[in-house]
């Protein structure tokens, strides 16, 4: 892995981040928006692990941040899916445009 510079890993994670961003902008279905958020969180994890590996190889801080982000992402996904299912029970749809009850 010495031949691959750190910036190439950063390019990959930046590309993944903006793919997730594009999905978040274009999708209007809550589950697919949640998938985009997962992609974004994963790109951040790649960054942390790569920085830990390349710049601070004698420490473990990047690994801990990644682990905590994974735990928070799991909690976030669980709560989001509970909210989505509850919303589906009330509106029969999980499109964000249809959930305008509290909009104004």
């Amino acid at each position: 892995m010495n031949q691959v510079p750190l910036s190439h890993i950063l390019f990959v994670s930046a590309a993944l981040f903006f793919i997730g961003m594009y999905g978040l902008f274009t999708r209007r279905n809550m589950i697919t928006m949640l998938m985009s958020v997962e992609l974004i969180l994963n790109s951040v994890n790649i960054n942390f692990v790569a920085f830990n590996k390349y710049l601070y190889p004698e420490k473990l801080e990047g690994i801990f941040f990644s682990l905590f982000i994974i735990a928070i992402a799991a909690a976030e996904a669980a709560v989001a899916i509970a909210i989505i299912i509850n919303l589906y029970r009330n509106f029969r749809s999980i499109d964000v445009e249809d959930a305008g009850e509290m909009k104004f």
Partner: protein, 181 residues
């Protein structure tokens, strides 16, 4: 180009292609499956970086947990055979433009910044190979240590957060009887 560099570029192409298909596919179930492939590719990237524990956690939590949860909720909330509506054309164009501009800016900044290993790593021979000791025992010992670089407080906070999320999920998703309210 050495074999490990080739592996890296193949992995990153796989991750990005699967991610792109996950956000553009018109069938929601296929989109979930592409997300699964992308997350598995990221686990492969962690293996490539020799971070075995993170890779294992990635597979267990994301691939085994979150994607399965997403697939369950897809089946609970909609007909998976139906196509999603296509995004509005102007919105798709402007989102692609915004994402592309952000990506270009980020790449420019990341490419220009010369990353230099800090501290002891700079003194090491050829970098990279001198090794994080990322064994599970080491991670566990530091995570639960109460000394200066210990992570026991964030660990406890995360435990409370997970408990709160669990209770919150039950409260939100619980079925209220039609009588009360």
């Amino acid at each position: 180009m050495s074999a490990s560099a080739v592996v890296f570029y193949i992995l990153s192409f796989f991750i990005l292609a699967a991610g792109l298909l996950a956000v553009t596919s018109r069938k929601i179930f296929r989109s979930a499956i592409w997300l699964l492939f992308s997350l598995t590719g990221i686990a492969g990237l962690y293996f490539w970086l020799q971070m075995e524990f993170i890779a294992a956690v990635q597979i267990v939590v994301y691939v085994g947990g979150i994607v399965v949860l997403i697939i369950f909720s897809i089946f609970l909330t909609q007909q998976s055979g139906k196509d999603l509506p296509a995004p509005v054309r102007s919105r798709a164009v402007f989102s692609a433009l915004a994402a592309g501009a952000g990506f270009a800016l980020t790449c420019l900044l990341a490419g220009r910044y010369g990353f230099a290993p800090a501290g002891h790593a700079a003194a090491g021979a050829d970098g990279g190979n001198m090794g994080v000791d990322a064994s599970v025992g080491n991670i566990g010992a530091q995570m639960l240590s109460t000394s200066e670089h210990g992570y026991v407080l964030p660990f406890e906070v995360i435990s409370i957060l997970l408990l709160a999320a669990m209770i919150g999920c039950i409260v939100i998703a619980i079925k209220t009887k039609p009588g009360d309210k």
